[in-house]
Symmetry: C2
Subunit: 193 residues, 2 copies
């Protein structure tokens, strides 16, 4: 997605060896027009699927996911981290390991919002080691729902996440794919769309 790649080059900050900071338009400050365009790109990429729900994880996944869901005319669900859901709901949960923080945390979705009639598009802001998206796949499968695919805004293609997801038979569509960093500048691999 050219618009996104241009934005990454213009406003992204490369920190150290393999960190790209996009907090000026995606992960802290958010550009709504860009999120709307990202939503349209995901809708176009998965136009042959009869998607019934878009599932993401709080917090940075919410903005791209809600535009995607709105354009599809279906609900968006954001999985919660930790124990923020009230105890009186039956929950679908998955354990997600963070390589950055080196801790395992629980992510949850209320059982009442996903069932075997659902066909789910998973959306997230970043794909690195794939643990968060894999957790959302686990939750979707525990609900008995099918998976249309995973839509990723920025993929770090030099890490193992994509392979982990594709090994589960899941289609991955990434709008920007980072091959690495040379002299503090991002090098892209060809994106999926």
């Amino acid at each position: 997605m050219e618009l996104l790649e241009e934005r990454i080059l213009h406003d992204g900050n490369v920190l150290g060896e393999n960190v790209l900071k996009v907090d000026s338009f995606l992960t802290h400050q958010v550009d709504g027009e860009l999120m709307a365009a990202i939503g349209e790109a995901f809708v176009e990429a998965f136009r042959n699927e009869e998607i019934t729900k878009v599932v993401t994880i709080e917090a940075s996944g919410i903005a791209p996911a809600v535009y995607t869901a709105q354009k599809l005319g279906v609900p968006m669900i954001f999985a919660k981290k930790g124990n923020s859901l009230t105890m009186n709901d039956e929950l679908l949960t998955a354990e997600v390991y963070s390589f950055t923080k080196q801790v395992t945390s629980t992510v949850s979705v209320s059982k009442k919002f996903l069932d075997e009639t659902d066909h789910v598009l998973i959306v997230d802001d970043f794909l690195a080691n794939g643990q968060a998206a894999k957790g959302l796949i686990d939750i979707t499968q525990k609900a008995g729902a099918s998976i249309a695919g995973v839509g990723i805004v920025i993929e770090k293609s030099f890490q193992k996440g994509r392979a982990l997801l594709e090994d589960t038979g899941t289609r991955v569509v990434s709008l920007a794919r980072l091959d690495g960093f040379v002299n503090g500048k991002v090098v892209f691999r060809e994106a999926d769309i």
Copy 2:
């Protein structure tokens, strides 16, 4: 906002004495069309203000805030809870006390995204005791920015939040105002728009 009040009556769940659960369209599963309509309502309510940024707090504030910001053509910033921002940024912080959890937590915004040239609209999903919105007002004031007002999706008018915010000289616009609950049903006060 009639559309929102109807939705609350239809899909909200009253739990116990004073809890309204709206996890089927706002706080866990999210209706993007409704969020877009909420964004339009806030833009209309604050049409005489030259807003430069919309500020909210993760996670449930993000969806209504990003549509509001997009329609205004300005960036949205979501304040982070806990220590999720990287240490190499200068931060604007506020302490927020949660009456529900009985803990005080820190919310933060990177200093680089707010300054004295900004005129800020604060958006949040719920207003009860007003601690979260008050924290966002504090952060905005620490940046030297001015405040256009606070836009709230659902206000619990029987709690003290609105008075707390108005005492700081801040205009509050709530799209639905709950007066209380009678026999497990929501009773509304007249909303601001």
